[in-house]
């Protein structure tokens, strides 16, 4: 570990693209650590992984059963619902794979004072947050069931799959993960001002995404749908991009909606987080007593 730290040390005044080699080295390092964790304690690994797979599948099974019973949900046919459920599960899995260890649950790190652990590292905060939660081995087992469901749905859909369509799918998935993460950071930033009471706020917001992500949101009314595409942008996690990808939307421009939303919510999250950091810089963490215990 010590040797690894020295090897990945960044020269001073590095910025922007200059961090790319270090970013890749850190991803490789955290990937290896995840592999070590997986292979060192099989019981823990199996418990966590199997439970994550069960939870991931259970969160979409209810909607799948309803779709089978009612031969679709509203304008969505059964294969379309399958694709939607697979897409939703994949987005959750990717968020878990790329931003594990409470990076996506940022309110916990802020509220518990654990942000200090990241701030003392000799690298920018964004670089730590982009790499620390990378769990490619354990996380992939959560992504795979989602991908399987998506392929199952696609197989039964009359869609002509081209390279362009695949690129759109990948861009949409990345954008959906971006929206999901930004949404968590926007709400999680409250913990800068209310560390104790908002420590678990991301548990509530994440639970809402998990519960609502597989719902086809058509028929909710303009106000409700508008709310789920703005204040709580859950519609971008699966419903909106799937609408566009499987051709339920009339306009092809709808494909751009999720990437644009990711950009807007990403900027909003970054702005709020910076504001919170400024506050944190003044008051620091109140969660540790002088002898190290959490208050």
């Amino acid at each position: 570990m010590a040797a690894e730290t020295v090897r990945t040390e960044t020269p001073k005044h590095t910025s922007g693209i200059g961090y790319l080699p270090r970013l890749l080295r850190l991803l490789w390092l955290y990937g290896r650590l995840d592999l070590l964790w997986v292979t060192r304690d099989m019981r823990t690994f199996l418990s966590w992984t199997l439970s994550e797979i069960v939870i991931s599948l259970a969160s979409v099974t209810g909607m799948w059963l309803l779709s089978e019973r009612f031969l679709g949900i509203g304008v969505w046919t059964r294969p379309q619902v399958l694709f939607l459920l697979g897409y939703a599960a994949t987005v959750s899995g990717l968020t878990e794979l790329l931003f594990g260890y409470n990076v996506a649950m940022i309110s916990r790190r802020i509220g518990r004072g654990q942000l200090d652990h990241t701030l003392i590292q000799p690298q920018p905060l964004w670089l730590s947050l982009l790499t620390e939660g990378f769990v490619p081995i354990s996380g992939s087992l959560v992504v795979l069931p989602g991908v399987g469901l998506m392929l199952w749905g696609l197989h039964r859909l009359p869609i002509h799959i081209t390279l362009i369509w695949i690129l759109w799918l990948m861009l949409s998935l990345a954008a959906s993960v971006g929206v999901a993460l930004a949404y968590q950071f926007v709400w999680g930033s409250i913990a800068f001002w209310a560390p104790r009471s908002a420590e678990e706020i991301n548990t509530s917001t994440s639970r809402l995404v998990d519960q609502l992500k597989p719902y086809p949101l058509d028929g909710l009314g303009i106000a409700m749908t508008g709310g789920l595409l703005s204040v709580l942008p859950i519609g971008f996690v699966a419903w909106m991009p799937c609408h566009a990808l499987i051709g339920l939307s009339v306009s092809p421009y709808v494909l751009w909606a999720t990437p644009i939303a990711a950009l807007v919510f990403g900027l909003l999250a970054a702005g709020l987080f910076r504001l919170g950091m400024r506050h944190y810089g003044r008051v620091g963490s109140q969660r540790y007593s002088p002898f190290g215990h959490r208050n």
């Binding site: 059963l65 949900i73 959490r294």
Partner: protein, 260 residues
């Protein structure tokens, strides 16, 4: 005699307000989920009369009552958290059994949930186009009895899962999350078992999870015969409690807990 129990429940209820002023946000998010779920049912039943003998009105009432009594239909104590943070050790020093402590703390939380979320949801139900009343006054009365039995079964399941977490040395939160995910599906709290495809609802109806949610909800909405359903609850409660107590007695000394 009962003072120590009521005091413990009251302290837990008060801790909500003292430790987390943002807890109201949780309820707002829950309300949002209810509204979306009700809309989904309307979309599914559009143009259809009854499905499997259940009308749209009955399924809306079923979903609303399921959310109103969500805590009772899915009993969850702080036992798992206490494994995680190590506080379980001090529980053995208190002049109450471990089961009693965690149970009354759970009741304390319920009182807040009921006042802040359940009661307002029931009152506002007509605004969402849902009739919150039971199928008949008798059904309403039997629902309360069945709900008490459901809590009894639910608590037994909770303590069995916790004991198994100790036996297999499993990560506490993984056990809790799996139980939550599986229970919601198998208990009929989310989808009435009769509306599940391929007749799998009939299979799920024989599992103990159905006794924790499906049974009281069916009685409330008048979609099941109360007496056989409640007898089945009783049939699950007794062996499950015997099992829970036995598992706990045998395994509590194997408990590994750490935290701080």
């Amino acid at each position: 005699m009962l003072r120590k129990y009521t005091k413990t429940a009251a302290m837990t209820a008060a801790s909500y307000f003292g430790e987390s002023p943002l807890f109201l946000l949780d309820y707002a998010l829950r309300l949002l989920r209810v509204i979306v779920l009700l809309s989904i049912w309307r979309v599914l039943f559009a143009g259809k009369g009854s499905v499997a003998g259940i009308s749209l009105g009955a399924v809306l009432t079923y979903s609303l009552i399921s959310e109103t009594f969500a805590e009772q239909l899915y009993c969850q104590t702080d036992l798992i958290s206490s494994f995680w943070n190590g506080s379980i050790t001090t529980r053995y020093l208190r002049p109450m059994s471990v089961f009693s402590q965690f149970s009354v703390e759970m009741y304390g939380k319920w009182s807040v949930n009921f006042a802040v979320f359940s009661l307002p949801l029931l009152v506002c139900a007509p605004l969402f186009g849902v009739d919150p009343l039971p199928h008949s006054p008798l059904n309403g009365l039997l629902f309360l009895v069945s709900l008490a039995l459901a809590v009894w079964v639910g608590l037994a399941i909770e303590f069995i899962f916790c004991a198994l977490a100790v036996v297999w040395e499993m990560p506490a939160y993984a056990v809790e999350r799996v139980r939550g995910a599986v229970s919601v599906l198998l208990s009929g709290a989310f989808i009435p078992l009769a509306l599940m495809p391929w007749g799998i609802g009939r299979v799920f109806g024989w599992l103990p999870f159905a006794a924790t949610a499906s049974t009281p909800l069916r009685i409330y909405t008048g979609t099941g015969a109360p007496l056989p359903l409640m007898l089945a609850q009783l049939g699950w409660a007794i062996p499950l409690w015997l099992l829970a107590k036995r598992l706990w007695r045998i395994n509590q000394e194997k408990m590994v807990s750490y935290g701080g």
